[in-house]
Symmetry: C2
Subunit: 208 residues, 2 copies
Amino acid sequence: MARNSAETRRRLVEAADKLFYGHGIQAVGVDAVALAAGVTKRTLYYHFKSKDDLIAAYLDARDLPTLGRYQGVADGPAAPAAQQIERIFTQMETNARNRDWRGCSFVRAACEFAGVTNHPARIGAARHKKRFEGWLQDLLEGEGIKDAAALARQIMILFDGAVTQILIHRDTSYAQAAGAAALTLLQAHRVEKAPVRPPQRKGGARKA
Amino acid sequence: MARNSAETRRRLVEAADKLFYGHGIQAVGVDAVALAAGVTKRTLYYHFKSKDDLIAAYLDARDLPTLGRYQGVADGPAAPAAQQIERIFTQMETNARNRDWRGCSFVRAACEFAGVTNHPARIGAARHKKRFEGWLQDLLEGEGIKDAAALARQIMILFDGAVTQILIHRDTSYAQAAGAAALTLLQAHRVEKAPVRPPQRKGGARKA
DNA sequence: GTCTATATGCCGATAGAC
DNA sequence: GTCTATCGGCATATAGAC
């Protein structure tokens, strides 16, 4: 049937997501993706000009939803920065406890194609991580934190580092360790860069 | 020739190291490894019972040398913890600037086989990372730092997180960001857990 | 737009000679 | 211990019918 091409494409990306994330991109052939989507390989190649094209669509489809999941739990009507950061790492731990959790799809894609410069997987991974770091920066700036870019970058490092350690050791407690580190950095950052409280007579703080 | 079997095996592991690290494990066939080692595929299968066996040997051969490279730069006759930590991240940046640098072989191996439980690559990666974290803990304990295990874990998270970000963005400045974060955590840890100096009446912590 | 059928080559692994 | 030769299977991708 010639109708509903968009739906067929959607099912292909959905099947690719399930298989690529579950078993790895290189470990899954296009045959398996087509079979899981209920179409033939030829149809897959009608919608995507190559496997690389399908990989790009797979990561692109994950970009905003992945970010949105963290935005959804972190953002509150008036949640202070510390609480939002805490929620992010708590959500990570919740995700990692799921039986089907296999780490970060973007990090894994970048690792699989670490030897190929400008591979679509590398580009998709970089875009997502930049977006995520940018969101962290906006979050911190929204709380009036100075030099939010530097702190956002450090929290981004903690985020991916924790996900990687959890994947390697199958130990979700790395999420708590990273969350605690992020809060420590936030606190230290405030003391050093932007004391919230009015300076007292004695303490070290510099004046406003 | 039947002689020098150990040398043949060494050349095979060396070739595997170069190819697996450069292009990825799954992206490289055993044919290519055998060719690079100057032997036939049949000889490879005389020395290793499977590709998985070769993968295990590849990671095992990297374990101690990788750790040793960081130990070599960090350890000094009387280097304080802060300086050792700083040297570790400086070394990371130096490594990452090399043209052939492709991230952490252990993280990448774990990512490539994230869908396979108990794969030799997963086991090798976990062992190395546990050893690395243990070394960090010993380093901190040697400096009399309390609760060194928790801080070592946080620095381990920063370490792998930074390597991953550098790989994704091709931006070595993440090493500096992670190093600065590690020093902040070390400082905060000392203040909170084990003030070295007797508490003073007034606010500020340190003096000369 | 989706199908059946196929092209072409590399994959990991092995048989058997020497 | 190393070789030549090859197995069976699966990889990505395509030709041509409908």
